[in-house]
Amino acid sequence: MTLEEKLALLADGAKYDVSCSSSGSSRPSRPGELGNTAPAGICHSWAQDGRCISLFKILLSNNCAYDCRYCRIRRSNDIPRASFTVDEIVALTINLYRRNFIEGLFLSSAVLGDPEKTMGLMLEAVQKLRTEHGFNGYIHLKGIPGASPQTLRLAGFYADRMSVNIELPTEESLRLLAPQKSRRAILDPIRLLGDDCREFREHRGRHSPGRFLPAGQTTQMIIGASPESDRHILHLMETLYNRFELKRVYYSAYVPVNSDNRLPALAVPPVLREHRLYQADWLLRFYHYRAAELLDEEEPFLDEHLDPKAAWAVRHPEFFPLEVNRADYRELLRVPGIGVKSALGIIRARRQASLDFPHLKAMGVVLKRARWFLLCRGRAMERRLPEPLEIRSRLLGLEAPGLLSGPIPVQLELFK
């Protein structure tokens, strides 16, 4: 098999890993060495599905010993198998980096033989890059559940970020769909790496023995392959952010790649649900919402028609309208149509002058959403602020015109 054929297979195997971010680390460049990292992250291209390509994301091997139901490279599937050698990975990474194609390496792998051996090989590649080739670019390393704590910990000294995939939100689903993985085997390394990260952060100083995962850790779970509700997922997400201090949780809509009677038969991947979960994720991380505010037991799923922030705003008419010139930062963030950038802009600008609707529009506030929730200098944009129900239907009208008057219109067929 040629190198390019191998690359095709092993990039293809890595594509379902969602994470590709290269942010959160500021590894400096050193004289005579190659590369550095940019704290904000840099995207180098965008794939046909619109996702950014920042890191060179590959599998070390797709020759898997496990048989997870949802996975395309599981043992019982008849597909061509390949593995990179450590030197091939190093050469590809260095050469692509020198041409500014990539921000660094994202190395994952199928379980090649046993977890410890796989993690060992991945560690070897990363060590070689860092020590022999003086590579200071970004490295994201997948933690293989079941590898020894020593190997995982050692990897943390070389990588910028590591991730162990939670895969499915509950233990039952995991038992059903990924029988060789246990919840403990997944959570133990997350806890171990998280504790070490905290330890290093607290004792950072002149005598610290190096960097340990400067960009922290992330995880990923599959949405729609198992029956959990959004509420369940949101609470899990909150725990992961607050207790385990994860930097990101990624969600991937389940794409049916195997036929198996334990899996749901979906015609299309639940991408809208995935999108709503990401929106909720942003609300937790940047907009100071709590999971319990977004969903309760009566409504365990996010509204498919309305984004979670607008849905919250419509459910809480007592919170609005807000006076733009007086509301504090966190209050402004709750207004649909105002994001982090425009909220900061408003705070900056109103110290200099009192603001009115045309100013907001010029600054980038989305007034077609925000108009129902704001007052400028004590006045609303229209003479009368509508009732919550009417606001909801107007917002719905913005998202999907025609949604209210019966079924969603579809393009008619010209030829049958």
Binding site: K15, S45, K57, L92, N95, R99, P269, R348, A353, H359
Partner: protein, 250 residues
């Protein structure tokens, strides 16, 4: 009065100095190269001077905001039509309003300054990712670019830190300028091509890693979730020309 300058940032700042020094009003600042002679208007050419330019930078830094020099530079690099006059108005207003000026986004000039500078920085950040080098000789790399804003001078710092152990050239084909990094030293030079016709690049040098990259690119996207519009939002078609992965799609 028309004031003409050489097109450089230094020249522009010298012109601003002249306007303040001689209390000229009203004025119209233009590049010498883009000026169309006018029968009725008085026209003067301002010679670029480093010391005067520095005084303007120092003045706007101390009297308006420490952020002001960067905002003005980035807005200037957009090369938007009439940007010189907008910036002059910003400086005048900034000096009369004092330190709050750059924050006052309710003011049309402050907002324009912010938006112009953002436009430039946005493209700068994009190009940190999409400058594509090819190996010309072992250890020496070349990248052609065609950005809308004149971001080339901004790129030097990033790439000399990141690729400090190799020699490289980034060539702005539209403006005929290039950054040359050799033996750890960065220089700006003018490089015009033999055939100056619009869009003619250097010979389409292929690099062995271009085809490897294309293979990677084709396999990393999820075909079930193909989304050309989303991709185009992030990476507009105007930038595809120098990206090897887009070669089949242009």
């Amino acid at each position: 009065m028309n004031l003409l300058y050489d097109g450089s940032f230094r020249g522009f700042l010298t012109t601003v100095f002249t306007v303040f020094k001689e209390r000229l009003d009203p004025v119209n600042i233009e590049k010498t190269s883009s000026h169309v002679p006018d029968l009725f208007e008085e026209t003067r050419t301002v010679n670029s001077r480093e010391d005067l330019a520095k005084r303007v930078i120092l003045g706007i830094k101390n009297r308006i905001s420490p952020l002001m020099p960067r905002l003005v530079l980035h807005a200037f690099l957009t090369g938007a039509p009439g940007v010189e006059n907008t910036l002059l108005a910003c400086v005048q207003k900034g000096l009369s309003q004092g330190p709050g000026f750059t924050d006052n986004l309710a003011d049309p000039h402050a907002l324009a300054l912010e938006q112009l500078s953002r436009r430039c920085l946005h493209e700068y950040h994009l190009f940190l990712g999409i400058v594509r080098f090819r190996q010309v000789t072992p250890g020496c790399y070349y990248a052609p670019i065609q950005p809308e804003n004149n971001i080339l001078p901004l790129l030097g710092g990033h790439f000399s830190r990141r690729l400090g152990d190799q020699d490289w050239i980034i060539h702005d084909l539209t403006r005929g300028t290039a950054l040359i990094f050799s033996n750890g030293k960065l220089e700006m030079a003018e490089i015009t091509l033999d055939q100056p016709n619009e869009g003619a690049g250097p010979p389409d040098l292929e690099d062995e890693y271009f085809s490897i990259w294309r293979t990677y690119y084709e396999n990393i996207g999820i075909a079930d979730r193909k989304n050309p519009r989303l991709r185009m939002n992030f990476l507009p078609k105007k930038y595809w020309k120098h990206l090897p992965e887009m070669k089949g799609e242009v």
